[in-house]
Symmetry: C2
Subunit: 442 residues, 2 copies
């Protein structure tokens, strides 16, 4: 990369063009992202046409906008013509309206139609992910004719390895792969070769469902059909991979109590970060006051025995962590479909047994420590009893609340640690003081 | 699926065989997992040979073991012969030694050699993920000869779409795709067609690195080479997809304070779940006692002003949640390579500014509430000051600790919420009582 920068400062453009041929388009994309816009433009113009489109599609939207603003109309129309329709649709979605106008003005009619079709599908649906560039075959074709068609139309298709067999009204009737074609005799008919048990998605299928199908079946591409089983597009595995990462990131952020965002850490401003975090914090802060109010009502108890206060952090943290463990496991299980709503009692029963075991171990360790440190058997019993009950409640809520959220149609991850901790806190404090008052007669 | 079960009870085996042809091997696998072993065996024996191998490779290891124990030696040797070498290696790794002996006894010499090779590579390395079934070409072949070779050797290869060009000493010198072959003339030489800028991994590359390469470049397969750039295997995108999910699950569990495990929720026993959770809980419980001890040393302060105790939960929760937010963002950034160790100061500065904004908003809301509720300006100021300092410390530790962990070569996710909460707790309580004592003169 140093080499490229040097050639750039020395303005050795023909050498530069030569050198660029050796680089992968993804690495060139990283480079264009880093450079000043003037230099990026020079490099961009040196790329061969289809590489340029490939690089352009991967740039982030700020850089795309800067480049478009420097392009002549002719350059712009060439780039858009080279883009796959789904990439062009993404571009139109991201750009400000003045730029969109210019893009559409420089796009030919058939591509404009595709772009508009893709844009109409709801966000995060299969329709919005799909591309309309795929190869279709007819049932009566021979293997040889199929190869002829691939050679003729394959150059600008996103994948050529899965071929879709349509009838005269574009209904999807079969799927076959280039591997099967290659391993067959030339005169075999497609209808005798094709797989007719087709797994497809509809345009409004959620992208998460799509990703799950890719993870379950080892597809390279998945056909998208409309309600009448007419083929409208395909989704390729690289797009599914992006969705999987995106969904992971979302769960991860929800678990940390951050409102999910599509932008990366450095791209978001301080103000955006603040906005994505502060709402959750306000909700949780105000809920924590409930626990505070509970404590206030036991003022007498800890005025009489101040040592009780010293156990509040330990009880709160243990409760929070126990709950977080259960909710983590259940949220994961729900996400991977291992756990379903009908398993509620089964999961709860399992968590109860785990809670008993965990609670017992914590009890013994902690009870012993307290007895040895304070020589106060009643105190040791109070804390031990509270601890085991807190663990049981935390683990129960930890598995039940995410399932309740799912039942209500809310993302279960919303019930992850921060939310749960706050609820478990109140319970553990309430149990603590009640047991203390009862056992220690204060 | 009901249909299959009915045919099974009615023992209509030839109908059953017919019906099974219509099902996808992944769905058949799900079915075999559910049925009693006797029924599963009946179904399994009705499958066509290569489908049977495909289904077998996907079964979980308990079911595989049960089946193997019911197989005759001839059946076993047929199945192993049909398995891809990487699947066979996985099988050998999972089975108890008596079963392994039987498997290896029924495997032919060349496959046994492959299995042993794969087993020697460290767990989670590219070597252990790879398969040795791929198609190789020579530089001097023509496109037509290449197709000839694909037709001859392609049937039992895991992917035929990426072809690897080797020289006479098996050095990887180029890569080309079936798409390129199909779109070229028959007499073009491979050496004029192949891509020579090859991205490959070595056998000991970590699987996480491999997954990142797949996510970055849209490969269908990635070549694995040894230290001398000699080709030893390929990794296909479906295996990379599995690794991505696995790594994500691991991070997720670490964040929830659970020791990561490869088994699924229901497959793990209550005792295994307990073991994976209790160690973390013990560590955190004992650390929380530090906070308890700090509280004890301020006994006088809250004996004098018991209302102070009521704010402990709110301060602890807010500190914990703020820290969790920052650590979540930083752990994510580190995992995706957006944040690197050299960005430490940049990240810290960003988090400090976010902390100031967040802290101010929380201060204002909370200060007002306290003033209105208790009519006590000093109390409102004490809580507000503590809050803003807690937020700053929580967000600083939240970004610095994961980076420190990474620097020390530990998984940054270990510094996620549970661990961090415990550390931030102690800080916030210390600040709270110090400010209270100073401002409110108690």
């Amino acid at each position: 990369m140093e080499e490229i920068k040097n050639l750039l400062t020395e303005k050795k453009l023909s050498d530069l063009k030569e050198v660029l041929l050796n680089y992968n388009s993804i690495d060139i994309c990283d480079l264009l992202q880093e450079l000043e816009i003037e230099d990026a433009l020079i490099i961009f113009r040196l790329l061969v046409k289809d590489e340029a489109a490939d690089v352009f599609a991967r740039l982030d939207s700020d850089r795309q906008e800067e480049l478009i603003n420097s392009f002549s109309d002719r350059e712009l129309s060439e780039i858009v013509a080279q883009l796959f329709a789904d990439d062009a649709a993404d571009l139109v979605e991201e750009m400000p309206s003045a730029v969109v106008k210019r893009i559409l003005a420089n796009t030919n009619a058939s591509k404009r139609k595709y772009i508009n079709e893709l844009l109409k599908y709801p966000e995060d649906s299969a329709g919005s992910m799909m591309t309309v560039e795929y190869i279709t075959l007819k049932v009566n074709m021979s293997v040889e004719e199929a190869f002829e068609r691939i050679r003729k139309t394959g150059a600008n298709k996103e994948t050529i390895y899965t071929l879709y067999v349509l009838d005269s009204s574009r209904h999807l009737v079969g799927v076959c792969t280039v591997k099967e074609l290659l391993l067959s005799e030339k005169d075999v008919r497609i209808k005798d070769l094709m797989e007719t048990q087709i797994i497809s998605v509809e345009t409004d299928t959620d992208q998460e469902e799509v990703a799950k199908l890719f993870a379950k079946y080892d597809f390279l591409a998945l056909p998208v059909v409309d309600k009448e089983n007419r083929m409208v597009g395909i989704i390729t595995i690289d797009d599914a991979l992006d969705v999987i990462s995106e969904e992971h990131e979302e769960d991860f952020e929800l678990m940390g109590g951050v409102k999910p965002s599509e932008d990366t850490y450095f791209k978001m401003s301080v103000w955006q970060h603040t906005r994505n975090r502060v709402v959750w914090l306000l909700i949780l802060m105000l809920s924590a006051m409930v626990t505070g109010t509970i404590i206030t009502s036991y003022e007498e108890a800890f005025a009489h025995l101040p040592i009780l206060v010293a156990f509040i952090p330990m009880l709160m943290d243990t409760g929070g962590n126990c709950g977080a463990q259960s909710s983590t496991m259940v949220i994961r299980g729900l996400a991977t479909d291992e756990i379903e709503l009908k398993d509620l009692l089964k999961v709860w029963f399992k968590e109860l047994r785990i809670a008993l075991l965990v609670g017992l171990i914590l009890c013994i360790v902690n009870g012993l420590r307290i007895y040895l440190q304070y020589q106060d058997l009643m105190l040791a019993i109070t804390i031990s009893l509270t601890l085991i009950m807190t663990v049981i409640i935390a683990k129960s809520l930890g598995c039940l609340l995410p399932m309740l959220a799912k039942k209500l149609g809310v993302d279960p991850a919303i019930m992850a640690s921060p939310m749960l901790t706050t609820i478990v806190d109140a319970c553990s404090i309430l149990i603590f003081f009640n047991i203390a008052v009862a056992i220690m007669h204060i």
